[in-house]
């Protein structure tokens, strides 16, 4: 039984159709990599799940409950957390305040516990607690974005391009952290340009092309399939 299921989801920006009927599933405690070229509809898919965009038709079901009519806040309350592309931190707030914003809906006690956990995963953030988020380095900002996401206590964490713009050594670190988070039984839906790396980490992969799902399957199989590699993954 899938934790999150999208069926025939169609989304448009004004007159421009972005998703043409996307169906996909994410299982409990899985890492699913959502890959594909620029403009394939990966970010749009995440935004639709998190309620920033509204689907024209189709359904989004999370643990048996329809999400399509809920506000972003209500979706966060259900345990779906979206760490957006480009991090979207609050640049003029401190690292600490950014993390507190991540736990905006959480009770004070839960907030304190999660803060400890985030600092355990990212000790650097604790060092920089009083610094303004806008003054952090790129890697630190990405850590903060993920840390902020964890503060909401996600059961499904959606990461949009977490490795974008990071030095290779930090990319390694990022994927290590994602794996670590997943070991705490957090389901991860990962959008990545770094296809090879993402599929290597993920249990399953979904390849998107021009607003549609092109192919989906176990990531090991996708990586092994020569035609898939050539046609969709550009490897």
């Amino acid at each position: 039984m899938a934790m999150l299921r999208l069926e025939e989801v169609r989304v448009a920006y004004g007159k421009v159709q972005a998703l043409w009927g996307v169906s996909l599933e994410v299982g409990e405690s899985e890492i699913v990599a959502l890959v594909g070229a620029n403009g394939a509809g990966k970010t749009t898919t995440l935004k639709t799940v998190s309620g920033l965009l509204r689907a024209q038709s189709g359904s989004i079901v999370f643990e048996g409950e329809r999400l399509d009519a809920l506000s972003p806040g209500e979706i966060v309350r259900r345990g779906i957390v979206h760490v957006p592309e480009g991090r979207k931190l609050f640049p003029e707030m401190t690292v600490f305040d950014n993390l507190l914003m991540g736990g905006y809906l959480a009770a004070p006690l839960a907030r304190r516990q999660r803060l400890d956990r985030v600092f355990a995963v990212f000790p650097r953030l604790q060092e920089r607690m009083r610094q303004l988020a806008g003054t952090l380095s790129g890697g630190e900002q990405q850590m903060l974005a993920i840390g902020r996401g964890l503060m909401a206590g996600p059961r499904l964490l959606m990461l949009d391009e977490p490795s974008l713009g990071l030095a290779p050594i930090l990319v390694e670190e990022m994927f290590r952290v994602v794996g670590e988070i997943n070991r705490d039984r957090v389901t991860v839906l990962l959008v990545e340009q770094n296809t090879q790396h993402a599929l290597a980490l993920a249990h399953r992969g979904v390849v998107m092309e021009s607003g549609r799902v092109a192919i989906a399957g176990r990531s090991r199989d996708l990586l092994a399939d020569e035609t898939v590699r050539k046609a969709y993954l550009g490897l």
């Binding site: 966060v76 957006p84 979207k88 609050f90 003029e92 707030m93 914003m101 991540g102 905006y104 909401a152």
Partner: protein
């Protein structure tokens, strides 16, 4: 020397009230990206509040602030909820003109209800000013100055230390990200508009004993508001505080050392220079 100190003191005292008006405008701009042309009229309502408390209920005008700020908060929320919410979606120009219409509406309704008579509040304990070191410090202005500081500190605490304040700041920096954190952006906007209105009303209450009031006084104040918030950087609270005090000092020094006739000109020229050279405001943290 005495002249210089006197002008600086006058400038800072008046500036503290400008700052409070500016802060109200700037938080609203931060969250909603709108420039509220009716802000001066909300100040005017606060001034009448103080006046009626004094004349009608025989309450000290400064004391009446504890009633008027919460009331203005609710009034502001109602304005946003029932009037502005849908208009904001139509874009900046529409909102600007809409609030210009609102300004005309409020001012002329006030004119109808209260007539255009000029009114002043006379405080029995404040006829002559204090004179520490031979510098004149009018008592009502000194009290306003103190209260403005208290209110500003309270606002700072609200914005820095509470969830509500963090949500307001977060929304103003990145509304989409704030929504992803579970912030109800629309409700935050409503609360922020209430807050801005309360600050405008509070500033009005504090201004009333030092100035005079009439229904269209907002026209004069609104132009000053723009200068203040731009000096400090649109959307920045500390900027608006600094901008307000700076404008008070510019006006005071300009009138003394240049000419009263040109003091507003100096304000506008500095305003233009800041817009062009430092669009993020003189004090750095605002966004361009």
């Amino acid at each position: 020397m005495e002249t210089l100190i006197q002008s600086l003191v006058s400038g800072v005292l008046t500036g503290s009230l400008y700052a409070m008006i500016g802060v109200g405008l700037t938080v609203v701009f931060g969250v909603m990206r709108i420039i509220n042309m009716a802000h001066g009229d909300l100040v005017m309502l606060g001034m009448y509040g103080a006046f009626w408390a004094h004349v009608g209920a025989r309450v000290d005008p400064f004391l009446s602030i504890v009633v008027w700020m919460p009331l203005m908060f609710l009034f502001g929320m109602a304005i946003h909820r029932f009037l502005l919410r849908k208009v904001v979606l139509g874009g900046e120009l529409n909102t600007l003109l809409y609030t210009a219409g609102l300004s005309l509406f409020i001012a002329n309704l006030a004119l109808f209800v209260w007539t255009g008579d000029y009114r002043t509040i006379k405080l029995s304990y404040a006829v002559m000013p204090l004179r520490p070191f031979d510098i004149a410090v009018p008592i009502p202005l000194a009290i306003s100055f103190g209260l403005a500081i208290v209110i500003t500190v309270a606002l700072y605490w609200l914005l820095a230390r509470t969830d509500m304040g963090r949500a307001i700041r977060a929304t103003s920096q990145d509304a989409e990200a704030a929504a992803l954190m579970g912030v109800n952006v629309e409700r935050t906007a409503t609360i922020t508009f209430g807050l801005g209105t309360a600050l405008a009303g509070g500033a009005g209450v504090l201004l009333a004993p030092s100035l005079y009031l009439y229904p269209t006084v907002g026209e004069i104040l609104v132009a000053k508001c723009f200068v203040i918030v731009v000096l400090g950087g649109l959307g920045s609270v500390p900027g608006a505080i600094a901008g307000g005090i700076l404008l008070g000092i510019i006006e005071s020094l300009g009138a003394v050392y240049v000419s009263v006739a040109y003091k507003d000109l100096i304000g506008f020229v500095i305003f233009l220079l800041v817009l062009l050279l430092r669009p993020a405001g003189l004090f750095g943290v605002g966004k361009s």
